[in-house]
């Protein structure tokens, strides 16, 4: 049952669901979560490939991604808080002053 294909398919599913989430959700927090989902999908693929090839590179990569994703979240949340503090609605569609 432990077919690599299934793991990869799951990772693809997670990726796609995350991507679709970015496309449809308007709350920046949720969008963020969706991005995390996509990164996690990448991680799952990396872990699967590491298992296939039986080397540590994929695992190290995954660890790095986890750290990086955490950093991104920290920055993103700080930014969202900053925006919230300046009194704007939590809707990315509101963030469309810059356009054209």
């Amino acid at each position: 049952m432990l077919h690599p294909s299934l793991f990869l398919l799951l990772s693809a599913w997670l990726f796609v669901v995350g991507a679709v989430g970015v496309l449809v959700r308007r709350n920046p927090l949720v969008v963020f979560m969706c991005v995390e989902l996509m990164l996690n999908a990448g991680n799952l693929a990396l872990m699967t490939f590491a298992r296939i090839h039986r080397n540590m590179e994929g695992q190290v990569f995954t660890l790095v991604v986890i750290a990086v994703a955490a950093s991104e979240v920290v920055v993103g949340l700080a930014l969202i808080v900053a925006i919230y503090k300046s009194g704007r609605k939590m809707d990315i569609d509101e963030l469309s002053e810059l356009r054209g």
Partner: protein, 623 residues
Amino acid sequence: MTVGELVGLGLVLPLSGFILNRFLGPENRQLVRLAGPASIALAFVVFGAAALLNGTAGVDQLAYHWAAGGAAIAGQTGFTVPAINVDLYFDPLAAVMTLVITGVGCLIHIYAVGYMDEENDADYSRFFAHMNFFVFSMLLLVLAHNFVILVVGWALVGLSSYLLIGFYTTRESAVAAARKAFVMNVIGDVGIVIASFVALGAVGSLNFDSLLGRAGALPQSTLELVAFFLLVGAVAKSAQFPLHTWLPDAMEGPTPVSALIHAATMVTAGVYLIARFAPLYAHAPIAAGTAQWIGLGTALLAALAATAQNDIKRVLAYSTMSQIGYMFFAVAIGAEVAGIFHLVTHAFFKALLFLAAGNVIHALHGEQDMRRMGGLWRQMPATGFIFLLGALALAGFPPLAGFFSKDEIVGSGFAMGFGHPVGGLVLVLIAALTGYYMLRAFYMTFVSAPSEGSDEAHEPGLGMMVPVLLLATLATTGGLLQPGPWHLLTDFIGGVFGESAPTFDPLAVALTLAAVMVGVGVTYQRYGSGRVEERPPEVLARAFDFDSLYQVAIVGPLWAAGRLLEELLEVPVVIGVASAAGSAAGIAGREVRRLQSGYLRSYAMLFAAAALVAVVAVGVGLR
């Protein structure tokens, strides 16, 4: 001095007269009075000397190399830059022409000293400068020995003509007439230019000799083409059908200009040209035939038109056209000497007529309408007599000059040419018309009931009368050059054309004389009794209305074409393409801006869709 140097000197004299008058004249009227006629008189003397020294030889005098000519390049097609010299050719034909030009020109200059006296200093000097320049150009034309110099001379006389027709620069009609004359003459210039190309292509040189020397050996089509395009030039310059409409309008110029340029000399350049290229036309029957019919047709058409004109100068203008038609006919059928003979005598009596008319116009302060003249015989008997003399000479009354020259052409018409003796008969008919309209002009001006205002008219001063009298003498005695029993002109220039003594045709003389008598008789019958209220046929008065025809058929369509092009092509398409491209880009720019909605989700959407396309294209589509 050699003949060549004399010729060069003779050419330069009028040019220096031009320069003197143009640059020093405006401040010094006295200088203009002197330098204007004197430069021409001196030139006449110089050319006389040259003619005497030269005899019947042909002399080529090189002035300088105009263009060195490109080196021939192996294997190339097309033409190199041809070698072109500024050189002058003086032979009996040129001698006759130069003497007529400078001789008659000198007399007219002298006349103009008085005639133009009312002009202010600037205009006075301008007039003489341009007259001198005309003489220079005309001399260059007849002395040319290759096509390029011919074109230069040809165009420069056109320019002088333009300048002098438009002498009264503030008069709208004069300005328009000048432009018309110029543009139609440019058509002629272009014709000669094209002729020169064909010649260059055929013989590799622009020199007349290399073409004429091999005229018999060249393909027929080449000869016809050269002859045809030369004919275009000749027709334009000599105001022959269909490029004739500028000449009547050209009468807007001062009368001495009409006398010199539009009667005696420039307009006969076409005749000279065909004579100069006689060997060519001898081998180009189609072109020669065309020339012949053009001459005949113009002679008839102009004579008919002349019968219905009321402006005295216009009568003379149509008459000039008609007489040049005679000359065309003559040179086209191979009677070159007869043509040149008529050219010479015509220069005398037509200049005389114009100057006489000038006297009248001068006396009436610019009035040119014969219906408002009449009865001037009383105030101006001398002018009247001289006008009558000129009219009769033109009509061909013996023993005046026109009698001999015209008879020689009519006789040739019976004897030679295309469609003889029809040509001769038409010429006889025209002679009758000539007699009619010239006497009509005389009657209307001098005899019929006087109109008001003509009382103050008086004979001009001596300065104007002397040249008129000299011309009258020439018009009377000019026939003595070639009266039949002896033939000085043929002896002199016949060698150029290989012609021997002219044939004397009594029948032609008799017919012509009779015809003239009929014409004169009709005039006497109609006008002898005094003022006649006449209504000449409109179509004749307007000379068959070629002006309107050209306006409708050529000028109008050109303007319409210009307008159509501007409105349908230039503005919307040629210029519009930039705006169209600009607005297309602008629209695209707007679309891109619209896509850039500012909504993050749509950015991500675009991103994801593009990524999907990329993945599918790479992974699946290209398998």
